[in-house]
Amino acid sequence: MLHSLKILIIAALGLWLGLAATYYSVERGHDLGFGTGLVFGAVKAGPWSGWPKTGTREADPYARALFARNGETPLGVTEGLGFIARSDSGDGPLDPACDYLVTGAIPAARFWTLSAVSPEGKPLSVVGERHGFTSSELLRMIDGGFEIRVAASARPGNWLPVSRDQPFLLMLRLYDTALSANAMSVTAGVMPSIVREHCR
């Protein structure tokens, strides 16, 4: 009698633990690191992380469970590659009270976009309609390089607005890029850097 009661308790505890692990890896995935959760096969380059395998037939079970839950539709591997950054190049978390300068190299791609989104991946509520920049509309420097300023209040040049009281992350999308095919090797040097400037 006592024995079967023990078995019952252990089974219930095991069931609860298993479901809790699933809940945390899917529902709270955003807090745990992925633009989405505990997904394997991340490619890291400086502050940027990308998941090239999620847009293929070989997407791992965690990615598929997560997308089924949040309704996200990832990019197919031939369409392009998405990266997100939740920290700056100095490893500090992105803080809406600070200005950030995004500049430097960008992998070869036909088009690319940089946008600021909430940690859940939704557009920020900002004044005006500016949620991101495309590679075509950027004001370029004389050498063809670019500088994008991420800040809560207006800045000259390419200003990507964020909301002062809303956490955000940066999303870089490379469309029609040669990277996709061999994306397992991206170095920080070919990706833009996110430099923290002054904070309020």
């Binding site: 095991g14 633990l17 479901l19 847009g55 469970a65 089924a68 996200e72 197919g76 031939t78 939704k122």
Partner: protein, 196 residues
């Protein structure tokens, strides 16, 4: 010494239970993760089914804080064509302007992307895709003329139902309407030639 023996004995008794509990937890975790794509009520197919009839091009609402799916690019216009191959093969045709980014991805019922391409796959600006099941492909190939190569791209879908997702880039904020028009210009529907 006695105490240590007692602790050792207790651990010895508890260990199998802990191991059993963790084993059950592991099995439950793996099964639930694998089952989730089939059980989740709010996946992208459900979202798109609520918006779109099968075999029609439907534009998705613009990316705003309240309407969009997570991690959508606000610079993209998006459209879908839901398919149900139990009604027959589905044909996608497109005439695309040069140098305007248009993306195509083919999604199975439970979220898997089984094919993707960009407008660069078009030959002389034209794209002709036939989406079929393996059985339908056999029928189509049996009816092919023997002396010429098929002119269309044939793709086998892993599930009967699913959707095609089209994304067109608005290079400038004022070009969103053109990007949407590019998606509206696609044709997607049951294939008339292969239907008997």
């Amino acid at each position: 010494m006695r105490l240590r023996n007692w602790i050792g004995g207790a651990v010895f008794h508890i260990l199998p239970w802990v191991a059993g509990c963790l084993f059950i937890a592991g099995v439950v975790h793996i099964i639930s993760i694998l089952a989730l794509p089939r059980l989740a009520p709010k996946d992208s197919f459900a979202r798109i089914s609520a918006l779109a009839q099968p075999h029609k091009i439907v534009l998705l609402p613009a990316t705003t804080p309240h309407t969009s799916a997570p991690f959508d690019d606000p610079a993209l216009a998006q459209g879908v064509c839901r398919f149900d191959l139990s009604q027959g093969p589905v044909r996608l045709r497109a005439t695309l302007p040069p140098d305007a980014l248009t993306l195509f991805s083919f999604h199975a019922r439970h979220g898997q992307i089984f094919y993707s391409m960009t407008d660069r796959s078009a030959t002389r600006g034209k794209l002709d895709v036939l989406l079929v099941t393996r059985q339908q492909l056999d029928v189509v190939e049996a009816n092919d003329p023997e002396d010429e190569l098929p002119q269309d791209l044939r793709i086998i879908a892993p599930t009967m139902e699913g959707f095609l997702l089209f994304r067109a880039l608005a290079e400038f904020p004022g070009e969103m309407a053109q990007a949407q028009a590019r998606i509206r210009s696609l044709t997607c529907g049951l294939d008339k030639e292969t239907r008997s």
